[in-house]
Amino acid sequence: MKIRPDIVQVYREVHSWVGILCGLFLFVAFYAGSISMFEQPLQNWLTPAPTLPEPIGLEATPELLQKAFAEHPNASEHYTIVITPDNTRPARLMWPQDPTHRGHGPQDFVLGALSPTGDLVTMTRRPSEVPFFIDQLHEQIGLPLPHVVARYVMGCVALAYFLALVSGVIAFLPALKKMLFAVRLGTGARKVWLDIHNLVGFFSLPFHFVIATTAVVFAFHDPIYAVQGKLFQRGPVADHGSMHPHGHSGGRGNGNLVHAASLEGQMPPLAILDALRQQAPGFVADTLEYTTQQGKGKSQTTLRIAGHDNRYPMRGATNGFAMVDPLNGKVLSADYLPGHQSAGFAALTAFIALHFGSYGGLPVRWGYYCMGLGGAFLFYTGNRLWIAARQRREEKNAGEGLQTRGTWLLSCLTTGCITGCMTGIAILFMCAPFLPSGGSYAQASILYYMVFLLCVGLSFILKERQREPLLFCVTGFANIAATFVILFSITWRHASLPALSVATIALVLGCFLLWSVRRSACRLSA
């Protein structure tokens, strides 16, 4: 393909500069993001099983509700019925300990169960926050900043990422036909990195465009909607609440009054599920979330059913939603109900699902995991390439391996950040099974950032020749150690698929890192 050579040159320069600016952030975001594809199963594995009686059958739920609301009237304002309890949501009934809490991430839930004699048993706890911490690393591109600030920083990085993609494509297009499959393994290191970078970049391009665009949308949709509100809204501002998957609406009121209004006339959960099954066959409900809002003198209960349907893209990271009438089980809003959306909503959902990989079930998730790791590798090769090119130029100009401060800084940062991120996450998985209730957010932050800073510090102290081999060895051994610790933890807890998967992947990754160190050592000595 012919493009004017000056345009190619302009975009090549843009590519190398924006690439180097956002490469490391993107590495962390992609590495953590690929793991957070499995946030739910990981949370299930790391959260210890509670000491509660077995969940009662769904048909007995009304009895449980009555007993729970008699003892805890304010629970009826906002509660969730779990269809298939697991370690994360181990009880049939749960409600947030603080009903006003509308935060992001795991929170303290009161779990309600019935003992064999029919007495109410409750306990309060929150699930393991380590997987959520990894998800936050992904969302905040590894920066320990307040969530809102980090989101805008992420948005700026996503803009640079998009620019890097566009400029990379334009810079590579002229050579596309000639170079695509030409991986010149026998030649200098720089050419090998370049060819691998081009190959991986070209074949994951659609994925990267989707991720970049959606990331910009995630970062900036709030201000854009605010502008829309100012431009188009006439009359009183409508409250956007229960329909929106991110927002939760809820009111506080007198608990006893709520109690009187809320259960009366409601369909029992089994009947609701039957009604839903008839209206939306194939949609598997996970939770029924009841929220009661106090209006003027009367209360209104809304029911949001979260569930999944692997045949269709879903709006949330793991779920689609339906708003259902709690009195008769009729679907009130199918805007986010997979397979029952209007064409417009289905298209919008598809965009978002393409980011989350929330379609097609487990195979797609594994695919996204691989693409995510591939992306992280792409950014690593990009940085290596930049450093190699600079070093070569500087050696030519100054002779004898002198390098400028900039090249040295970037070289240290690249090795430090990527090994820090990978080692930090390995250490998290190593420690999490032994932490009480699977690890809190604060514990996870301390562990991760300590390891991360240690690796970055080390990479600044070490000499050029030792830096990468040594730190890669550290990461490799940390991953292999994580494998054995996880396998050991299985011996006194139950074995589960997520645990075995994490152990296997850590082993493979660790071996790969050690192998790459050995290989490059051989090449250097040859």
């Binding site: 302009v10 998009f162 665009t213 909607y225 509100g229 431009l231 417009g344």
Partner: protein
């Protein structure tokens, strides 16, 4: 017509042009299209969500292509002019529709 060779000497000016007047232009485009399709600005509606995507995509397209301008001044003139134009159109449209 003699073509001048492109270079990156004024990259910052071009980039800022795409960032600031470019954002105003994409918001303006959103305003005009939104007015024409009578959106209510309620974020639960399909139209509001599509408009949000449109604004982002327009902005991204401008960011990606801003380095093709011959100079920074030209980028500011074109994008700023276009932004003024669409907001002018929006002003006229709201007057017409309100009337």
């Amino acid at each position: 017509m003699t073509e001048t060779r492109l270079n990156n000497r004024q990259w910052l000016a071009k980039f800022m042009a795409a960032l600031v007047p470019g954002a105003l232009l994409s918001f303006g485009a959103m305003a005009v299209v939104g007015t024409l399709c009578h959106t209510t600005g309620d974020i639960r509606t399909v139209s509001a969500q599509f408009l949000m995507w449109m604004a982002v995509l327009v902005w991204l397209a401008l960011l990606g292509s801003c380095f093709l301008f011959r100079s920074g001044a030209r980028a500011w003139a074109v994008l700023g002019g276009a932004a003024l134009l669409v907001w002018g159109v929006f002003g006229v449209l709201t007057k017409v529709i309100m009337a």
